[in-house]
């Protein structure tokens, strides 16, 4: 084609770059590799967990692992029933939820619906400090401060010993308060003011607006924060390792000492198991169970937010 081009003007037809910029493409590719490290991390976690777990189940039947009631993998006469660790995890998690669900939700309602702006600006960061305190410090607190209080105030029969699932669980609950509080408050803040004003116009009181309008409207975010709280409680290690005692114990009485899945992994890790021994492989088998449990809960939490979010406007 012979288009007439006025002399003196460049003949380029597009505004694109004159030369391909290979250097820039290389840099962008390098940046992409950095982002891809996260995917590699997940793959590495799965690769680290799966082969030793398969090996482990070559020696121990899945049935014994999941239904056995005795856990003593590192003893001379090893037993591989994981149920005591599972119940230990469930009991400590339940104790944590008893604290963090009402306290987190109540704090969120107060901060979102009752507090004045400047009160919120002071109290919210103070509450979030709880999330920044190292977990060993909570472990110390559970053992030295909460443990003795629990012993003194225990209302039924046999008093708990120095180590109990209850003191570890309660302190774990305190640690998780900001998780529930912040996420629930974000969900409540996102409820449009029009809903509140409508309710007030119909003669509702503040409590009615908070409890019957705002909380139901923000329910997806609130429930997601509860699921995330469970996931954090199940995955917490140091508090239970320090304060819950080290005995695997198939029991539901929170006053007893127990071992959780995470505490077993931690304790076995300290023990420096030789590579390839069955003791070493149990770390990975229990780790797989823990990883799958928390992974599913995280996905559920993300799903709940996406699925059930009320879209306003």
């Amino acid at each position: 084609m012979t288009a007439v081009v006025p002399s003196g003007l460049p003949t380029r037809g597009s505004l694109g770059a004159r030369h391909p910029r290979y250097g820039e493409r290389a840099v962008v590719f390098g940046l992409f590799l950095c982002a891809a490290i996260s995917v590699l991390t997940t793959m590495a976690i799965v690769l680290a967990l799966v082969p030793p777990t398969i090996d482990f189940f070559g020696k121990v039947s899945i049935g014994e692992f999941l239904t056995g009631t005795k856990w003593s993998p590192l003893f001379a006469n090893p037993r591989f029933g994981v149920l005591p660790l599972v119940t230990g995890t469930m009991v400590t998690t339940a104790c944590a939820l008893v604290v963090c669900v009402p306290v987190g939700l109540g704090s969120a309602i107060y901060l979102s619906e009752y507090a004045r702006t400047h009160t919120r600006h002071v109290i919210k960061p103070a509450l979030e400090l709880l999330a920044g305190i190292p977990t060993v410090v909570y472990g110390y607190f559970a053992l030295e401060v909460v443990g003795p209080i629990v012993q003194r105030l225990w209302p039924f029969g046999d008093r708990p010993g120095t180590f109990s699932a209850l003191s570890a669980g309660l302190v774990m609950g305190v640690m998780i308060i900001p998780t529930v509080g912040s996420l629930s408050e974000d969900a409540m803040e996102a409820v449009p003011g029009g809903l509140r004003e409508g309710a007030y116009a119909l003669g509702s009181t503040r409590r009615q607006v908070a409890a019957r309008v705002v909380v139901p409207a923000a329910l997806s975010g609130i429930v997601a924060s509860f699921v995330l709280a469970i996931s954090r409680a199940v995955g917490e290690t140091m508090i239970v390792l320090i304060a819950a005692g080290g005995q695997p114990n198939l029991a539901f009485n929170p006053g007893e000492a127990m071992q959780t899945m995470t505490a077993f992994i931690g304790a076995a890790g300290i023990g420096d198991q030789p590579t390839g021994s069955t003791g070493y492989k149990t770390i990975f088998a229990v780790g797989s169970l823990l990883f799958v449990a928390t992974f599913v809960m995280n996905l559920v939490s993300i799903r709940i937010v996406r699925r059930f979010r009320e879209i306003y406007e």
């Binding site: 820039e24 962008v28 940046l31 950095c34 982002a35 891809a36 490290i37 996260s38 995917v39 991390t41 976690i45 680290a48 967990l49 306290v103 987190g104 109540g106 704090s107 107060y110 109290i123 103070a126 509450l127 400090l129 709880l130 920044g132 305190i133 190292p134 977990t135 060993v136 410090v137 472990g139 110390y140 607190f141 053992l143 030295e144 401060v145 305190v174 409590r207 908070a210 409890a211 995330l228 996931s231 954090r232 995955g235 917490e236 290690t237 140091m238 390792l241 320090i242 995470t262 992994i265 931690g266 890790g269 770390i283 990975f284 780790g287 823990l290 990883f291 928390t294 992974f295 995280n298």
Partner: protein
């Protein structure tokens, strides 16, 4: 005394006294909830300071761990923490900021692999820290990398652990840079990469720095993954390099707390105060950076 209008009853309906009582009760319950968290925080801080006060002093910094509690100190743990955190920062900052730049500024978000990376980072942020410890045990200390129980192994594990946090915080800082700055640079003929590296990134540095410091202060407090990669707890020398054996403050605290003698618990409390002071300094630095250099557009 203020007289209430009679119409109050008729307008609102029901018994106003009972209703008001319920309102007050609800408010009191909410305040109690808020109080539980704040009281627990205060109780924790006060009890740690009171317990640790006896041993908190120069000796804690000067002495190495010892089987005799009256001679023990946390010198090796303090320097170990410094080494590990410095190495973690050197690993995690370039990678985390690069990843954030890619995801926020350069990645076409409709591509499947970019969405995969995003979902993945969300999930990784919620993986329990002990699982990173297992990863470290299998791949970093033994297995493919076989670094052994050294500073570098701990730094690699902690970097992977805080990377999602660093990426998420850096992306937020980048997102806060107004679009008009990008548009202006592109209109003047800058390439996309020039825009990002000379305009967007410098504008986001204060926000990124704040996020990075907070992420590192999380790494400082981690004990569980480092127990797995074998931080030692009876170390009478400071780390001398990345390939040196090490211990860190949280692991030292754990070791002392798990001993039966009460004197070691006092030592643990004093070391906790030391750790909390370090966190206080870091958080203070984060707030200072944000106030001093942070821009509001």
């Amino acid at each position: 005394m203020t007289a209430r209008p009679v119409s109050d009853t008729t307008l609102v309906g029901g018994a106003p006294a009972a209703k008001r009582a319920r309102e007050t009760a609800f408010r009191v319950v909410l305040l109690l909830c808020l109080g539980v968290g704040l009281v627990a925080l205060a109780a924790l801080l006060v009890s740690v300071v009171l317990d640790g006060r006896a041993r908190f002093g120069e000796d804690l910094w000067r002495r190495f761990p010892s089987p005799r509690p009256e001679l023990a100190g946390a010198r090796s743990a303090f320097f170990g923490t410094m080494w590990v955190i410095a190495a973690t920062a050197l690993l995690t900052v370039p990678i985390g900021v690069s990843a954030a730049l890619y995801l926020e500024e350069l990645a076409p978000s409709d591509r499947w692999y970019n969405r995969l990376v995003e979902v993945n980072i969300q999930n990784l942020a919620a993986v329990p820290s002990i699982v990173y410890g297992i990863l470290g045990l299998a791949f970093v200390v033994r297995g493919p990398m076989s670094l052994g129980r050294v500073v570098l192994a701990a730094a690699v594990i902690l970097s992977l652990l805080v990377l999602p946090t660093v990426i998420i915080a850096s992306r937020e800082a980048l997102r806060a840079v107004p679009q008009s700055i990008r548009d202006g640079a592109l209109a003047l003929g800058a390439t996309q990469l020039q825009t990002v590296s000379r305009q967007v990134l410098p504008a986001a540095v204060p926000g990124i720095a704040t996020g990075v410091i907070l992420a590192l202060s999380r790494a400082i407090g981690e004990a569980a993954p480092l127990l797995m990669v074998g931080a030692l707890t009876f170390l009478t020398f400071n780390p001398s390099g990345l390939d040196s054996a090490f211990t860190v403050l949280p692991v030292q605290i754990f070791n002392w707390v798990s001993r039966p003698q009460a004197e070691f618990h006092v030592l643990a409390a004093a070391t906790i105060v030391m750790l909390l002071l370090m966190l206080l300094v870091m958080n203070g630095a984060a707030i200072w950076v944000r106030n001093k250099f942070g821009k509001r557009w």
